[in-house]
């Protein structure tokens, strides 16, 4: 399972990075979204994979990491998701504004081929 998740993180990251390095603003936007998925999963994976051990305390179950998954990473991912959402929205709007002002969708605002 670890292999699957890390491979997924890698592929998501690679796709995202490839897009981030593209010349069109929309590509960069998509790339940033993919990168942020990859990063969130990476952060999530720091807590190690646990099945059926949601961090909601139940009386009688010892409060340790053998019986619950790591709540810290989840809290961090939660914050990261929200911040990622906010910045994505912002980037989208800046992208639109630039598209209007520059009359093309190149990241540098000048259309000079790909």
């Amino acid at each position: 399972m670890e292999i699957v998740l890390s491979a997924a993180i890698g592929i998501l990251g690679a796709s995202g990075i490839w897009l981030v390095l593209r010349a069109r603003t929309f590509q960069v936007l998509m790339g940033l979204s993919l990168v942020s998925y990859a990063v969130n999963l990476f952060l999530f994976s720091m807590g190690s994979l646990s099945i059926g051990q949601e961090p909601i305390v139940t009386p009688g179950i010892p409060a340790d990491l053998a019986h619950y998954t790591d709540p810290m990473v989840q809290a961090l991912v939660l914050t990261a998701i929200v911040i990622g959402f906010a910045t994505t929205a912002l980037f989208l709007v800046v992208l639109l504004a630039l598209r209007g002002l520059a009359d093309n969708d190149h990241v540098d605002g000048k259309d000079e081929g790909a």
Partner: protein, 571 residues
């Protein structure tokens, strides 16, 4: 005299401690929310509220500065536990000498920039005041927090507000620069998160002091991963600190931003530097078998490259705002380069240099606005040329044949009276130039001298080849900065005839005057400040006091935490 004053202030704030530590975050946040609630319609109320909040923030920052310095030799480290959880489980805020210093300089620059903005810039778009407050909140939080992830959060607060402020006023240049700036910072933030994640994955904790404490227990085969996390974090922070080759975004963004915004942005690169400094000294203690820390040489080399590139770009630039942005870059490079040597005296000099250069560049950004306005008024043209094809470096005019009889010049041998406004701008400009170039008699010289003296080994330590390289680069960069800025100054101020006298509002001169006065203050108080910064640097390089202060802090015992032992919040 300064000692008595600080002692008095420290006594006065003692009852407020340690709650005062969180105030630099809470005050701007409350102000932002309140200003947002007030709405854009009531401009007068907005301005008054915004200024009042910033003034209170400044007062708090100065009080903290006095507090941490009050007992001189023994470090006073104010530790605050928001939400009242024991270290290392809750988030920790720490105000030590370095943090307090950074808070103070932030507040000074922010107050001046805000006053400057009140004259004109606040009307260039909506929500300027709330976002400005959030900007300050983010910066302050980043300087105060002692928790890795919380640092990420505050850096994001700071960045988000900076996106807003950069775009304030809109327009092609700003949006274009803004897109690059945001894209770069989003990628940097991703790296930041990855780095934090890895450090948490290995160390199992997020408190900076706690990580530092747990490091010795990390098994050797995990160290590589820890360093990898540090490297990722480092790249993210060095990008924010504007180190080459991660700093191409800086010049377009800073020169496109509205003047007061650019002035505040000077602080942003300092946050990057601060974070590098703090984490590097805390986490990467020298290994037993060597005296240097992981990545020290890389820092020096990148810093040097930054200074060199900044200097070269300066030579190719003529616009004051661009030059100010490049000066930011140059100072960033200088700071990072000298950081790599891990010497307390050197670092003390560097922190002193940071103060001076921050004030100078911030002033220069404000000045640039007024100067260019004056110029545009005179010529009816806006000067915003980039690297494309500026005229030759040295002179505006074609060189005259040597030996031409000077008397044939038509111009009279009578000086031109300089209007008071222009004299003011000119004087402020000279102050900026001297500071940025590190020339006497201002703080810039004292700082550069201190750094160079340590580098060449005045204490008897031998100088490495990297040390010599830094010496050479520092000197050459000073010269370049001097000549380029003077050349630009000549172009703007020594205008032959028919100049339009700029109309300066008092409210625009006030902050510039304030910043210049600040420069004079830190110059006059050079000795005490250097003592302070050197003490700060000493405790940075030997963070045991910091770590112990944090680890020794206990949460306040209370009704929901009955089990907790009694203990103060401050050490």
């Amino acid at each position: 005299m300064i000692a008595t004053l600080t002692a008095a202030v420290a006594d006065a704030v003692a009852p407020l401690m340690p709650h005062l530590v969180v105030a630099p975050v809470v005050i701007p946040l409350v102000a932002a929310a309140a200003l947002l609630a007030i709405g854009e319609g009531r401009r007068g109320l907005l301005v008054a509220g915004s200024l009042a909040a910033m003034a209170v923030t400044l007062a708090v920052a100065l009080a903290l500065l006095a507090w941490v310095d009050v007992r001189g030799a023994t470090p006073v480290i104010a530790v605050y536990l928001p939400a009242n959880w024991d270290v290392p489980f809750g988030i920790v805020l720490v105000a030590d000498r370095l943090s307090a210093l950074m808070l103070a300089i932030t507040a000074v620059v922010a107050v001046c920039a805000l006053v400057f903005a009140v004259a004109r810039w606040q009307r260039a778009g909506v929500y300027f005041h709330p976002l400005f407050q959030l900007q300050v909140m983010g910066i302050n939080g980043a300087f105060l927090t002692a928790d890795l992830f919380n640092l990420f959060v505050f850096v994001e607060v700071m960045l988000t507000a900076s996106y807003a402020l950069l775009l304030h006023g809109s327009g092609r240049a700003r949006v274009q620069a803004g897109l690059h700036y945001i894209a770069v910072n989003l990628v940097a933030s991703a790296l930041f998160l990855l780095g934090v994640a890895m450090i948490y994955g290995i160390a199992g904790t997020l408190g900076m002091a706690d990580v530092a404490q747990k490091l010795p227990a990390i098994p050797p085969h995990d160290r590589g991963l820890l360093y990898a996390g540090a490297a990722l974090l480092g790249v993210a922070l060095l990008a924010k600190a504007a180190v080459w080759p991660l700093n191409f975004w800086l010049v377009p963004a800073y020169s496109a931003a509205a003047a007061p915004v650019a002035a505040v942005f000077v602080l942003l690169t300092k946050v990057g530097f601060y974070a590098v400094l703090r984490l590097w000294t805390l986490f990467l203690a020298p290994q037993a078998d060597s005296t240097t820390r992981f990545g020290a040489d890389v820092l020096v080399l990148m810093g040097l490259a930054t200074v060199v590139v900044a200097a070269l770009t300066m030579i190719a630039s003529r616009n004051v705002r661009r030059l100010a942005a490049l000066a930011t870059m140059m100072s960033a490079g200088t700071l990072v380069a000298v950081l790599g040597f891990g010497s307390a005296e050197l670092l003390g000099g560097a922190l002193y240099y940071l103060l001076g250069s921050t004030l100078a560049v911030a002033t220069l950004f404000l000045l640039a606005d007024l100067i260019e306005r004056a110029r545009e008024k005179g010529t009816g043209a806006t000067a915003d040329e980039g690297l494309v094809a500026p005229p030759p470096f040295a002179f505006d005019e074609q060189p005259v044949a040597s030996g031409v009889n000077l008397d044939d010049e038509e111009a009279a041998l009578i000086g031109q009276p300089i209007p008071i406004a222009l004299a003011f701008l000119g004087l402020a400009f000279i102050v900026c130039v001297l500071l940025i170039a590190g020339l006497p008699p201002l703080a810039g010289f004292l700082a550069k001298f201190t750094m160079l003296a340590v580098l060449v080994g005045h204490d008897g330590a031998p100088t490495s080849s990297l040390g010599w390289a830094v010496v050479v680069v520092l000197i050459l960069s000073s010269l370049v900065a001097l000549l380029v800025l003077v050349r630009t100054g000549i172009r703007y101020f020594w205008v032959p005839q028919g100049r339009a006298v700029p109309h300066l509002a008092v409210i625009e001169c006030l902050p510039i005057g304030g910043l210049v006065a600040g420069v004079v203050c830190i110059t006059v108080a050079g000795g005490p400040i250097l003592r302070y910064t050197t003490a700060a640097a000493t405790h940075l390089l030997d963070p045991s006091a910091y770590v112990q202060a944090v680890a020794g802090t206990k949460a306040t015992p209370g009704p929901t935490q009955p089990s907790r032992a009694a203990g103060g919040g401050t050490r």
